[in-house]
Symmetry: C4
């Protein structure tokens, strides 16, 4: 993918409060203050380069097909977001939104979300998942949050009709962190992923997701029935590997259940 | 993929009516009038570059295996088509047919289809899907039309034995547009995709597809029993993402039905 | 993949009978007579370049995993073969065997197979499929023959316990040629693929495959129970696309049968 | 993938016993004694280049998702290992550990594992699979050992509830070597893969794996229930192709069993 390097001429006066960074290594804001430098970097691990690359990988996994799903990264007091309703496997760095953090997750009446950078391409709107990513940043101090429409996640929410998906005695459980950002689970732990009911508008999931994250402080992710998964981690690496572990566990859990074998053998019998 | 840039020496006198373009940005016809300039461009989003690229992607999705399926794009009053019966993942820009639009979808006795450009390679014939693509252009004013042989589509037509495939309460429904080119559906809407019966010759589907599109004006695509899917959109991006959403919904609908769970839970019970 | 271009210094005196080519376009034998020129070419469609490229594609389809399966091409009176027991997705042009054609399919006592070129790398032996590829060249005048270990093919041979796999009323049937090299089937035709029983040694399949090809002159391929598929065509393109169509039909046939629906609806009822 | 070539300035005094190599071709230790030369090479088949490349391939096969699984190579008296808990598809040569061989598989109290090279990146620890790879090196004189978390392997351990997975009458059995490093099996042989019970800590599998390898000297790999597979070979090529054959056989064995057909037809009836 070609990453545009030509310097932006548009200037942007940033609020002072956003010029102080916690993260000393963050090179995304240069002294000349041009906005597009927020998303221009030769570093393949810069959030504006990582989001497109990771989304291409997620597309091949079937997680972000049909413009669904995505990823947001937080670096210092900057949050990076993809646009809503675009092909996730074709995002370019110049499509990335950059927002100051903290700010309210949900926009109140007569106010607007604050941005440090918006893509110049007309018609692009920030991802509808924004307030849900914010839940991960606010309630878990996450550094990255991934949303998938994986069919394994959706199938799990159809076969587990209650408030949680549960699985035990699978090696891949060891790849999941307590609360998504703490210590990793042990093989002896039962993985519990809460499920919330879907709503017509993505942002209307914000409150029920937040409530479920507080009710299940050890949960590393939240399933949305008939919709997909939200999962986070302290870093993008951790969010991604936990997403892979959860997706694996949803897939194998569905298979085990459909075969009529116990998914939680200590509880159901079968060990 | 290497895209041939060497200039064609063959000249083509185009009809005047085709020299006026609606789309000001269209750079495919240059003033010197050489025909191959219709398919030569450095722009990766030029239809003659996009069709090969998209077909390679569709091949990895299992949509155009064994020469089946394909895509047609319309830009201004030009329609771009791949040849019939060739490996869709190996198409090159020089294999693309360019046709003036409008012209009759079905060729009448003693007449021929009109072309602005035919590939020089002998034996290539325009896709047998041409009149079906035309249905999307004429009845829905589409800018792109995709045809897949996806097994998920075919399986859906075997398990839904009536005139329509129906599914509700799936997030991915929100990726589908009313009629394929209108506003997107809501999560509360039931997706209805009409199914027509297959015929020995692809072009013989033209009339039944057209009738079904008029009977179901909100349909974003037409399933062909034991065959595949036709889906369209105002742009190639929209046609592609709707094709992905429909394919996802056929796949998960088949899985849900085979598990014995309700695919339309409001209607069948199970919400 | 890098294709070695450095000229070989080894000389090879070819029999006169092999210096005459039917195919005027064949550039693989240059006048200086160096053997490696048989497999050195800048043309990506040269057999020694195509075999590695196609095998990489077949690997991603699951057809040649674990060194199984492969492809042989015939160009004029030359046959190109991959070695036995090597990773098919990592073959290089210099690994290719080149054989004169015609010669006996099966090596008789006290004689040896004749080669125009053997790879220099020690321990490489020509594919054990060689006499089976020869069946396609001799009995069907094929230009290419593909062997897969696709699980779809193997599953079909387990669920169809008799002498043939049969399927009808699937669009993909139209991609198959009568006898593998003749006219394409119609949608109204029933596809019949004979099944032979596996043997401990691959070459011991030669006779039963030959007999079945003669018993079913319209068959485009031969299934080997608990093993895989042989399929051929007049050209590599046709062999590959027929392999894709057959694999699709085995896969969907197995799915339909496992769902309890009719695979040949005219015969079984269900249309 | 870019492979770092810049010379390391860190010096490392290696024990004399590790400076003698069995393998004359090994170019990984240069005379200047810089440690990073152990993992710097232009040869794509150098272990430090191969491990990253192979892991990327394993990731696309679903074998090493979520940081699980991996591969270790032995060349002469050097063992190459990836770090624990990292994304296997993103390993770089500079992340590779190099260990002298032989040394004890399990570290005794008050001692440490001996390394010739550790990655400079902080926080990286050698793979927790290290003593299990050692089993393959010590008990089978293997040159490579692969660990997968493939769902096909895990499903096989759930459906085969006893001490072994067994399958017969499948062509792919011929790709497996007796004991993993001996002669290949015949089509008439029954493949037997022992299954050990999982433990909370990977290293605690060392003894039961070792015992099972001695109890089943012909076994080419060891399944770990609810976890995955260990498989080895004399070379990386053999370990990889045997891993592919086993994975294929687990997958098709599970499918056959779920269909209610015999997986070992001579024993169960059904031939």
């Amino acid at each position: 993918m070609s990453i545009s390097r030509h310097s932006s001429t548009a200037k942007y006066t940033r609020l002072d409060e956003h010029q102080h960074h916690d993260d000393e290594d963050d090179e995304s804001i240069h002294s000349d203050g041009t906005v597009d430098e927020l998303i221009q970097s030769d570093d393949p691990e810069h959030p504006a380069n990582l989001i497109p690359e990771l989304c291409r990988g997620f597309y091949t996994l079937g997680w972000v097909t049909g413009t669904g799903g995505g990823i947001s990264l937080k670096s210092g007091n900057l949050v990076y977001l993809a646009p809503s309703g675009v092909q996730k496997e074709r995002i370019l760095p110049e499509h990335i939104f950059v927002l100051p953090y903290p700010q309210p997750a949900v926009v109140k009446a007569h106010t607007e979300r604050t941005f440090l950078r918006k893509p110049k391409q007309e018609g692009l709107k920030e991802s509808a998942c924004t307030p849900l990513f914010w839940n991960a940043y606010e309630l878990r101090n996450a550094g990255a949050c991934i949303h998938t429409h994986s069919q394994h996640a959706v199938m799990a929410t159809l076969l587990w009709k209650g408030e949680v998906f549960e699985i035990s005695h699978q090696e891949m459980i060891k790849g999941i962190r307590i609360g998504g950002t703490g210590k990793t689970l042990s093989y002896l732990d039962t993985l519990v992923v809460p499920i919330i009911e879907n709503t017509p508008h993505e942002e209307d999931l914000t409150e029920s997701m937040s409530e479920m994250m507080q009710k299940y402080p050890d949960a590393a992710g939240i399933l949305v029935r008939r919709h997909g998964l939200y999962v986070w981690g302290p870093t993008w690496q951790s969010a991604k590997t936990q997403a892979e572990c959860l997706d694996y566990l949803f897939e194998i859990g569905v298979k085990i259940k459909l075969m009529g074998l116990p998914v939680c053998p200590a509880k159901e019998g079968g060990l």
